[in-house]
């Protein structure tokens, strides 16, 4: 489903080029759950951003289903994110002015794929029933991340990308949130690529990859 070949990305820092990704190869099948670890600055988040079309690669290819992400226009990449990718961030990135219910349904609505029954199921599975009318600032970090996961999965995406989704949570909450994510990924059958610093959490997924010196080992 996701096939990455020879992907490279270079940034400039203080006038010096920094080669963050130096020919990354990665394959991820439907329903597969993969953890990606690595040192800080190793390029984990950059890889996720390139897959999601949030940034442009310098070379290589990213194929998601029948779409070649690296050749898509801005609108094409937006459409890809809207319809086929779910994104979860460390900082939750909920819309502070929308209620939990509206945040949950938000991406599905703009994708035109709002499914009330599925949203209801998400609410139940994520345990958000009593929080629907609240605003992000009125709920805890763990609850906010559950809303973010729900928002990302509300479109039933082909691929869920999570960038350190538990980075702001305590250990118990992190495990609880990840368990929910795993459960929902299994329920939808989508691919799941999670960037994490926690080797313990990484071990709970199907496969564990490490990014080092710009390459996956």
């Amino acid at each position: 489903m996701l096939s990455i070949r020879n992907l490279s990305k270079t940034f400039s820092s203080a006038g010096e080029p920094v080669h963050v990704l130096r020919g990354v190869d990665l394959d991820l099948g439907a329903g597969e759950r993969v953890a990606l670890t690595g040192e800080s600055g190793s390029g984990k988040s950059t890889l996720l951003h390139l897959i999601a079309g949030l940034d442009a690669a310098d070379g290589g290819s990213i194929r998601l289903g029948d779409a070649e992400v690296t050749t898509l226009s801005d609108a094409g990449r937006a459409s890809l994110r809207r319809d086929r990718i779910g994104l979860v961030f460390q900082q939750f990135n909920l819309i502070p002015s929308l209620s939990v219910a509206d945040n949950l349904a938000f991406q599905a609505r703009i994708a035109g794929r709002h499914d009330a029954a599925w949203t209801k199921e998400l609410v139940e599975r994520l345990g958000l029933g009593s929080l629907l009318k609240r605003y992000p600032e009125q709920i805890s970090g763990g609850q906010q991340q559950r809303v973010a996961i729900g928002r990302a999965l509300a479109t039933k995406p082909a691929l869920l990308l999570a960038d350190e989704p538990t980075g702001n949570l305590d250990e118990a909450t992190a495990e609880e949130v990840l368990a929910l994510a795993r459960d929902l990924v299994a329920r939808t059958g989508c691919g799941f690529l999670m960037v994490t610093h926690s080797l313990h959490l990484a071990a709970t997924l199907d496969r564990h990859l490490t990014l080092h010196a710009g390459r996956i080992s």
Binding site: H49, A52, L54, D55, D74, A75, A78, S79, L80, R81, R82, D83, L87, F89, Q90, Q91, N93, L94, I95, P96, S97, L98, D102, F106, Q107, R109, I110, A111, G112, Y135, E137, R151, N168
Partner: protein
């Protein structure tokens, strides 16, 4: 479409959570639209009135024939011209008094009246018959009828005792004009078989040459695109427009500040939208739609407010225009659809201009860009350098306009460029002041105080710019008005030399009054004057005749004179010239001015230049006896008297009893002076009101900036609270910071305001009115304005400061809870 609606709903949801910011944006747009539209409404109302006056049977927009040297000419010339194929129509004009009010009386001949003469009343066949057949009709505008306190159908008497034909409302007519059949007018004005002018319609064939029909008895006056009234009042309306524009820009400062802050706050939301799959084009389009929708709503509210502002100011404006230029403006607003459309248009355009920077940022925003709080100093330095360069450019434009600009528009251009440059350079100046403070600071808290003030500068700079502009305009206009007021009163004391002023109804009454006065022991001197009209180098000029009397030599406000000027005036070949006319004609002492008089060219040596404030026309002052010799038709109806103060009331009462004079025909010096000062004060009442509005809007700009900044200040303040500063202490530091930058701004506004005052006095006034005032500084007034600025800042800062002082610890702790 649904997608766009969802994005719009998300964008709008921001305002639901930030109601104060939303109110700020609307207030800015409403204030900008209201003040601009209000001023435009007043200008439009006045221009409509000028158009109506110009189109009234031979205003400046109609070609006509007049006698070169007389007010009227024989009616037989009209008959001759009609027979020679000229499509002319006669008009007789004069003034009559009804119920103590003086109005213009126009006599027309409706059958020959050209169809294309302005907005001439359309008299149908039935109306035409009623108009010309006895008793006839008097056409009158609705507002004139109200002013005369008469009802339609009434036949009021004029001062001579004769009665007008029954009044009939004709809405298209100019105010203060009565229209009757020419035969009726000739009888009422006691000018049988006389005509003032002949209006010319479109000729069917080629008529005989004018000179071959009437010789040199009549001359052709071509129509003008701009009437004399429009020319005279241009500067007044330009002044109002400049104020409207300033208020508009101050309003846009608020909008810019609110939109900019909303954009910064919505950055994460915009990125999330993009991350969720909304394309950049969709997000940007919806941002523009949202802004236009808000501008439409605010524009409509602003227009309604603008209407009320215009309605409130109109009576003062109308009084000013009547007092200064004799222009009759109806006191009730009637607005055209274009005004409403233009108001909405200006609101939308203003919103887009004010939000341009934010919109461009949004369009260029890379989806992954992150905030760079650490780099604020570098960004601020770059921004300050860019703004300072732009400021230098604006100052250069001001200099160029000052040296090379000749027109009034160029004068206002100097002011605009100067103020724009000053506003742009303000943040850099404040940054330097704060940097000096930072360098001199001892102790960590003082260091933080100055450093944090510098960091806050970018958020507050727009509001401070608005405050600077409003204060500078206040200082400038107040200094100018105060200078004008003092100069005007001093000038009035010199100009109003006589103790009692009499205006006789005609020459016969004038002679009778003079004879009667000669026998009175309480009259120390009789000063007979006169006025005539002439054209000098194509400009209308008033000739003022003064008697040779010591009183004038002592008091007349001469700015510059030749030796023995008063003595040289007596023979009749010398004149004083008013300051504005000397500038217009470029005439100095020692030059000669030729005045076309009925007996031929009258050459006058210029031996003095005098101040003639408030008179839009140019004036030449000559000896009254010489004036009557050159212009025998000069009415000798103006008489000044020198009387001991205690004898004035008795003399006036006796004059009124003896000659039936009303209060307008005889008045003492104090009454005339009071009336002049009243007109003066009303003229500047509008300026003062707009001044206050602008300062108010600047205060709102500061308040809204402080309120919107208050929330983003928490991450800066929470660490200080955490290390042991109490909330009231933090609040007092914040208040001191706001008041400090406001004080620095107010102190910088003082020299700028004085520069504005100098520009108004030395450039704008000279170009607009032709007179230059001495430049004075009023220190007390400046101190007052600085105190007002500080009070406005205190009021603006109070609400956010109180909020901070009362803030629950939980709110401050949250800063750390969210810290990443």
């Amino acid at each position: 479409m649904t997608r766009a609606l969802w994005v719009l709903a998300v964008l709008l949801s921001h305002w639901r959570r930030h109601k104060m910011q939303f109110a700020t944006l609307l207030i800015g747009l409403i204030a900008a639209t209201a003040l601009w539209s209000g001023v435009q409404a007043i200008n439009q109302q006045a221009r409509n009135a000028y158009d109506r006056a110009a189109a009234t049977f031979g205003g400046a927009r109609t070609a006509m024939l007049v006698a070169p040297n007389a007010a009227t000419f024989p009616q037989e010339l009209f008959i001759k011209l009609r027979r020679a194929g000229w499509p002319v129509s006669p008009v007789l004009e004069g003034r009559v008094q009804i119920n103590g009010r003086s109005v213009r009386l126009l006599g027309i001949e409706p059958v020959t009246l050209p169809v294309d003469v302005g907005n001439a009343p359309r008299l149908g066949a039935a109306d035409l018959s009623s108009f010309v057949s006895p008793p006839g009709q008097t056409l009158v505008a609705r507002e004139t009828l109200r002013g005369l306190q008469e009802a339609e159908g009434a036949a009021p008497a004029i001062s001579s005792g004769a009665r007008l034909p029954p009044l009939r409302i004709q809405p298209q007519l100019a105010p203060d004009v009565l229209v009757v059949d020419i035969g009726v007018a000739q009888r009422l004005l006691s000018k049988p078989d006389q005509v003032s002018r002949l209006l010319i319609g479109k000729p069917r064939g080629k008529p005989a040459p004018l000179a071959s029909v009437v010789g040199e008895q009549l001359e052709l006056i071509e129509p003008n695109a701009e009437t004399e009234l429009e020319r005279l009042t241009d500067s007044f309306h330009l002044n109002l427009t400049a104020f409207g524009l300033l208020s508009f820009f101050v309003g846009l400062f608020i909008v810019n500040s609110a939109v900019g802050l909303a954009f910064e706050q919505r950055l994460p939301m915009l990125r999330t939208l993009r991350a969720c799959g909304a394309s950049a084009r969709l997000v940007n389009t919806v941002l523009v739609i949202e802004l236009v929708a808000l501008a439409l709503v605010a524009g409509l509210i602003g227009l309604a407010c603008g209407y009320f502002i215009a309605a409130a100011l109109l009576p003062d404006v109308a009084a000013s225009l009547r007092g200064l230029y004799g222009a009759q403006i109806p006191g009730q607003l009637s607005l055209r659809p274009e005004w409403w459309l233009a108001g909405i248009g200006i609101s939308v355009a203003g919103a887009l201009v004010a939000a341009a920077t934010s919109l461009i940022k949004a369009i260029r925003m890379p989806v992954l860009a992150t905030a760079q709080p650490g780099a604020w100093q570098q960004r601020q330095r770059r921004w300050l350098i860019l703004q300072s360069c732009a400021a230098c450019g604006a100052f250069a434009v001001a200099l160029l306009l000052f040296y090379y600009g000749q027109s009034l528009i160029a004068g206002f251009g100097v002011l605009a460029a100067l103020m724009f440059g000053a506003a742009l350079i303000l943040p850099a100046l404040l940054d330097i002041i704060l940097l000096v403070g930072q360098r001199l600071a001892r102790g960590p808290l003082a260091l933080w105080f100055w450093a944090d003030s510098r960091q806050q500068l970018s958020g507050l700079s727009l509001a401070l710019m608005a405050l600077l502009l409003a204060l500078a305009v206040n200082v400038g206009v107040s200094s100018m008005v105060e200078t004008f007021s003092r100069t005007f009163i001093g000038w009035l004391n010199g100009r109003l030399a006589a103790d009692v002023y009499i205006s006789a109804s005609d020459n016969a009454q004038g002679v009778a009054i003079r004879n009667w006065l000669k026998d009175r022991s309480d009259v120390q001197a009789i000063l007979s004057g006169g006025r005539a009209e002439a054209q000098v180098q194509g400009q209308p000029v008033e000739l003022l005749g003064l008697p040779d009397h010591a009183l004038y030599r002592e008091r007349w406000p001469l700015l510059d004179t030749a030796p023995r000027a008063w003595t040289r005036l007596v023979p009749g070949n010398a004149a004083f010239i008013s300051e504005q006319l000397s500038r217009r004609l470029n005439v100095q002492i020692g030059d000669v001015v030729e005045v076309p008089a009925p007996g031929g060219s009258w050459e006058l040596d210029i031996v003095g230049i005098y101040a003639d404030y408030g008179n839009p026309r140019g004036q030449l002052t000559v000896n009254v006896a010489a004036l009557i010799r050159q212009f025998p038709q000069t009415p000798q109806t103006r008489i000044g008297l020198i009387v001991a103060r205690e004898n004035i009331p008795g003399l006036i009462a006796a004059l009124q009893k003896q000659f039936g004079l009303d209060d307008r025909s005889v008045a003492d010096q104090a009454t005339v002076k009071a009336e002049s000062i009243r007109i003066f004060n009303r003229t500047f009442a509008v300026t003062s009101a707009l001044n206050a509005f602008t300062l108010g809007v600047a205060g709102i700009a500061l308040l809204t900036s402080l309120l919107t900044l208050a929330n983003s200040r928490l991450p800066q303040l929470a660490p200080l609270w955490a290390i042991g500063l109490t909330r009231p202490r933090l609040a007092s530091i914040e208040l001191t910071k706001t008041l400090s930058v406001a004080l620095f701004t107010a102190l910088l506004a003082v020299p700028l305001g004085l520069l504005v005052a100098w520009c108004l006095i030395a450039i704008v006034n000279v170009k607009a009115f032709g007179w230059r005032l001495p430049f004075h500084v009023f220190p007390l007034q400046l101190v007052e304005l600085v105190v007002v600025a500080l009070l406005a800042s205190l009021v603006a800062a109070l609400l956010p400061i109180l909020r901070l002082a009362r803030m629950q610890p939980a709110a401050l702790v949250k800063v750390f809870a969210n810290e990443r």
